[in-house]
Amino acid sequence: MKTRNYAVVGTRPIRHDGADKVTGRARFGADLQISGLLHGYVLRSPHAHARIRSIDIRKALAFPGVKAVVTAADLPRTPDRVVELADGPVRLSHLRGNILASDKVLYKGHAVAAVAAVSPHVAEEAASLIEVDYEILPCTLTAPDAMRDDAPILHDDITTMEFGEQTGKVCNVAEHFRHVLGDINQGFAEADVVIEREFETATVHQGYLEPQSAVALWNNDGRVHIWSSSQGAFSTRDAAAPILDLPVSRLKVTPMEVGGGFGGKIRIYVEPVAALLSKKAGRPVKIVMSRRDVLEGTGPTPGSYVRVKLGARKDGRLTAAQAYMAYEAGAYPGAQVAFGAMCIFAAYDIPNVMIDGFDVVVNKPSTAAYRAPGTTQAAFAAESVVDELAEALGFDPIEFRLKNAAREGTRRADGPKYRRIGCIEVLEAMKTHPHYTAPLGGPNRGRGVAVGFWFNVGFPSSCTISVNADGTVNLVEGSVDLSGTRTSIAMQAAEVLGIGAGDVNPTVADTDSIGYTALTGGSRTTYATGWAAYEAAQDVLRQMKGRAAVLWGIDPASVEFEGGVFRADGRSTTFKELAARLDMAEGPVIGRGAVNPSSVGGSFAGCIVDVEVDPETGKVSILRFTSVQDAGKAIHPSFVEGQMQGGSAQGIGWALNEEYYMSPEGAMLNTSLLDYRMPTCVDLPMIDTVIVEVPDPDHPFGVRGVGEANIVPPPAAIANGIHRAAGIRLRRLPMNPPVVVEAIWNRRA
């Protein structure tokens, strides 16, 4: 199907849910109103690390207007096992523990109890009457700190796992892994210049504007209906089922519109709590998290400590790379350090590599995925050292990367060889962009570049298409639509069927109504669900050819379809004409597609940024920003551009201002959006985008997912720009004004 000229793919139709979104009619999780609704409030731990000696809920239960109170005692007790969820395997005891703490609280904000009442205010007031007796314990807040022998231990059943073997020592390091390629000792010996640097990044949050929410009804027939604002109806069902010890058949999840996810809404938080409250109260329960709860009680991305050592010869060829990566997993294991390790040197062809990764628990919220999880932290380190090395050897930063660029056949340290990838094409597009050679136009200004990679995932997706008599089709799919994917999916079906994007009516369905579809994340949706739609459309065509054959009295094998027209024996009929006559030829046409792609092409991204550093205040202004990314094939170019701009904006916030500012007792001190400072309209210039298209070898249209890789390069690129503007190398995120000013003073001293 990979022809060059498409009728629909590559155009920019208005999204199908547009009217709803701009009129306020679109219903997000908290907008649901159903009869009998109660409101839930979750009581959270004020301490970062404490044993729960007792919980007394009697006064709360007696408060007027309260219909139910739950604690961890209301969660089913089943033997511990490993559950495979959308963002990785997790122990059931850890999954449950994060929903409602049982014997210990492991972070400030850890959920301890919940109240359902007739109004949110009553529920909150009643919750304040719950008496929890805590025995406060010392806490540990960073990976290097938690790895010390004398660090407070979070779990007495965590011992370090090294590739399937428990090392037997109870500690906070849940896992250690290592990737090796070649021989780094020899590689560094061959290098003319070797640079080793340490980097730290603070905890940051995905910052979606819509807080988590859920409505749950534990019905009288034993079926639980959850209306969820999450990144997947099926992934929510998969997580809720083991927590509540229910077979998936007893759970129905209806996806509501979602106000941003970026990985942070894959995990579930309030859904099981709402379900338990509903079971006790006999009525539906809605829980909406406050902004403070979101920051303290959901899953930010790991803070990190990364050490990178790179060696290169005078001719610019990298000879060896080594990384030590210790990530904060938060309260439970599962820091996304393994992904960071896959991507840290992914843009380079290096013969000798060693990467050691450590998944370390600390007394902070249990971390979750954030747009290319674990990779921005890694790239901040690697791309800064690459920049320093290129400068030391006298190379232009892009030329240096081109000299060492990964390509088809290059082997990464974590395993397989690359198939067709667009690393070089992205670098070339950066090099030839007018931004790269434009004058900076003033003092205290500098330009930085960096690249990044995300491997993208496949996973199952399903789709059905039914043909309407007027030649339009109804398309049903199961991918929660975070940013317009129902349209990019519909466009791919439209292309196959030779109809317009507006002739497809897409619906995002609940878990009872469509085949299994994995999460909306991992940059998989336009890719995999689009592929399922492609297959469903092909199925429709096969059936339509059969219908035409019946009408013409011929063998179906002789019917051809091209350009929206069925032809055979000199006769022809358009898709629309044939659709109107289906009831005369064996009835309705319903096409189905189900895919589970396994070898998915990744996406490379790069950026060029001009910064201006105010030497008196340390403020860093972004003057100009260009984002380049390999999309394989851009189905809807405006949507691809939107992903690139959005990821870049998040990368800029991560670089310059965002952090969890923690007290020594483990309390986040900036729990409002005033002080958890994300970029506003005034902080950003127009972000220019360049879409590179190196087709994925397998996808019918060559699509590569683009949601994630674009967040990876900005912090390093900005650090590299700051170096050129102010002569300082910053190795800790965020690079906020006090940090910048201090570095400038130190340099002058």
């Binding site: 701009v22 306020g24 504007l209 959006l673 506003t680 972000i687």
Partner: protein, 162 residues
């Protein structure tokens, strides 16, 4: 502590409405939970994200920082009052044509705030647009497409009134 229900008489989207609310309920809550106008969103409940922006007596306000009882006798415009019957407002069309909507959660706040801007200043510069909208957070778009949408709508509205 008593939370005596108080009667509020106000005008929302040019219609007279009357409701009972507790003094501790914000205007945002009253709009969403009492009047069923769920287009206005809660993002932070402390005035730092703009998702709850409404126009009250000609000024944009964060409805999470206004008490329901303060709406007495005032004129309020929410996102539900922006479209002109079944016709989308030029701002709404421009947001769609410029792909300035991704998740859509911030969109109502932005459209209401932008309408107030264009009511006050029909020909704003890019800098004026960005300053006016600085109280509205968007995490998805990076703002460029939103600024372009406002510029396009402004141009179209000036053409019509010219």
């Amino acid at each position: 502590m008593t939370h005596t229900l108080t009667r509020v008489r106000t005008t929302v989207n040019e219609e007279a409405v009357e409701f009972l609310c507790e003094p501790r309920q914000s205007l945002l809550e009253c709009l969403r939970d009492i009047l069923g106008l769920t287009g206005t969103k809660e993002g932070c409940n402390d005035g730092n994200c703009g998702a709850c922006t409404v126009i009250m007596d000609g000024r944009t306000v964060n409805s999470c920082l206004v008490l329901g009882v303060e709406a007495e006798g005032r004129k309020i415009t929410t996102i539900e009052g922006i479209a002109q019957g079944s016709e989308l407002h030029p701002l709404q069309r421009a947001f769609l044509e410029n792909a300035a909507v991704q998740c859509g959660f911030c969109t109502p706040g932005f459209i209401v705030a932008a309408k107030a801007l264009l009511d006050a200043e029909p020909n704003p510069t890019e800098e004026q647009i960005r300053l006016w909208l600085a109280n509205n957070l968007c995490r998805c778009t990076g703002y460029g497409s939103i600024v372009r949408a406002v510029q396009q709508a402004a141009a179209q509205m000036r053409e019509v009134s010219a």
